[in-house]
Symmetry: C2
């Protein structure tokens, strides 16, 4: 009899979406846990999508867990600049070369780029095949692998072409964080800090206490931070899957951040880095609007700095350039840019009723704290 202890010891989180609900497993050593993964494969065919950085590290162990299935792999180049329609097309070509049928399970093994492209390909291939998220970066583990947002970028805007498409399950093996470089780890911490900022002051305070241990990759605090982040996201997604309302709070810092990413050229600023600076810009505008104190802004900036994140907007972008980039954001409605702003740490809200002159001051400012 097989030892099932490794399967049962974890209680997965759950994203509650009726008949499309799915579990999030968070633990060490899950990639090699065949008993955990195999029940989520429907059909006989599997297409694993990874990238040139992650595949040499983790593809082999995943393949062992999938012994007996008919497995194909497709390796993408590494970087946000490859999250585009051309690279997506190479994935469709690979699926049809096999050819994969419409019961094929697609597996995303990698960071947010791999997850977003694979999820979107799964949404479109033969009008939808099942897929599994195995995120290997902190950013993907706490954010992009959960909630079903999939997309590719367009030169004129980030995530402009995509779908809401939920995975069968999310398998977060925190052992994969051991090989993540420091800059990527910090980028992930930006999204972790976001959950504190938007709705959980207690978690924000916990992060202030534990930020150094997180950067040292203490597995216990990492697991705790990831669980807490995923729980927040799962609750929000269950309430508002298609971003009709509350889900938009998860975009704190993203309208500013997307403009930085696009304006500086995808791949130069990491997504998490742009979001960190973007969150501070949102805090700055909130302060200029009289909603939070200067001390709150400083407190946020300090945590971001301790997390190893940039807090100075790029000098290359002027107000006009920012506004042009922000106007193509998905949150624009009838010419008004809707922003997520703060009424306090742990208290975000959505507004298009801010003073446009104050927004311009924020965009012009190079010192935010």
């Amino acid at each position: 009899m097989k030892d099932m202890s490794s399967v049962v010891k974890m209680m997965p989180l759950s994203v509650g979406l009726g008949d499309r609900s799915y579990p999030i497993y968070i633990d060490q050593g899950l990639l090699g846990n065949a008993e955990l993964i195999r029940p989520y494969i429907t059909g006989q065919q599997v297409m694993i999508v990874s990238n040139e950085t992650v595949a040499p590290l983790y593809l082999e162990i995943l393949l062992q867990s999938l012994a007996g299935f008919q497995v194909a792999t497709h390796i993408l180049p590494d970087g946000e600049e490859f999250k585009n329609l051309e690279v997506l097309e190479t994935l469709f070509d690979a699926l049809l070369r096999v050819p994969c049928d419409r019961k094929t399970t697609m597996i995303a093994l990698g960071g947010g780029v791999v997850g977003d492209i694979t999820g979107f390909a799964a949404a479109c291939y033969q009008r939808g095949v099942p897929f599994i998220q195995i995120p290997t970066t902190l950013l993907a583990q706490v954010d992009s692998s959960v909630g079903g947002k999939t997309a590719v970028n367009h030169p004129r805007g980030k995530n402009m072409i995509g779908a809401f498409y939920q995975p069968r399950c999310v398998i977060t093996d925190i052992s994969t964080l051991n090989t993540l470089d420091d800059r990527q780890l910090s980028a992930g911490l930006a999204e972790v800090i976001k959950y504190g900022l938007i709705g959980d002051l207690e978690f924000f305070t916990w992060l202030e206490k534990n930020i150094d241990r997180l950067r040292q990759r203490d597995p216990e605090v990492l697991t705790e931070a990831i669980r807490c982040s995923c729980r927040s996201k799962a609750e929000i997604v269950a309430e508002d899957e298609r971003e009709g309302g509350i889900r938009a709070l998860l975009n704190l810092g993203h309208t500013f951040g997307h403009a930085i990413e696009a304006g500086m050229g995808y791949g130069n600023w990491l997504h998490g880095e742009a979001i960190a600076t973007g969150m501070l810009m949102a805090a700055d505008l909130s302060h200029r609007s009289g909603w939070i104190s200067r001390m709150d802004v400083t407190r946020i900036a300090e945590l971001l700095v301790r997390a190893g994140l940039p807090v100075v907007p790029p000098a290359e972008l002027d107000i006009e350039h920012y506004l042009k980039l922000m106007m193509v954001d998905k949150k624009v409605h009838q010419g008004r840019i809707r922003l997520v702003l703060l009424k306090g740490i742990g208290n975000a809200f959505i507004s298009d009723d801010y003073d446009h002159l104050l927004l311009q001051e924020t965009l012009a400012s190079r010192t935010l704290f």
Copy 2:
């Protein structure tokens, strides 16, 4: 007070899909009926997609019905060979050049290719914007505009990349059929005949009586044929939106037909032409299997011929080529090709339990009746 008689005189059909239900309006002169169309536009922005054949004929009158909205247009080249990812990308470029926000309503004004590309673009643009189908070919009016299947082709297979995405409404202005060329009209009749074959002997018999008047474009019999076809399709889609079961019956002739279309090069055989020959191949295999009589096959062939449709498979494709093309069809499961076959006229069923040797005989045969 406005004259609303033109709005209220029709009882639309309805596709029953819960909160995504939508009406199908079928009548003459609907393109100029602003009161009918305008309530289905959400937001201020509209993107009309049409093609170089249809736009010169019908774009102007539709634009007049949309006076006051912020309307952009995107004109595609005409033909199935343009239903691909490259052309789709030009549409995304156009949407982002405006830029269109995520409340933009997309309108497909054209045949099946325009509808399929526009619907898929609407499904993906900013992860989904509302869209309206205004089909202008008989084939699109009785088939592709209803039911939410959207897609583009891949060199290795038809409709391989797409989404299930329902329109807000379908507006079928049968006046547009006056400018349709005879070959396209016949291609549409193939799908009309399909509804008789799969489940409605009475309708098939009605078609045998009225096929000449249909080809003469008698508006009364056209309206009746379109209503009856759409009603059949709406019932099937309401029961099985994502083709888990009964919806697959709508693919009668399509596995053979897709192989002909792909094998002969998209655009050389019209979709409806390939489906006509494909249905006769399905009938031939059904007869070889002992399920229908030789007389049934002849009766089907005669109606197809009278409808102006081809009934001789192309000499260019041999068995091996057919099988290779059919193996990438979406209906393949674990290496078995699932086919829609006939137990009688008006009685189709799905099977992967046919004799493979008989299939090879059908594929090798050039005379099917």
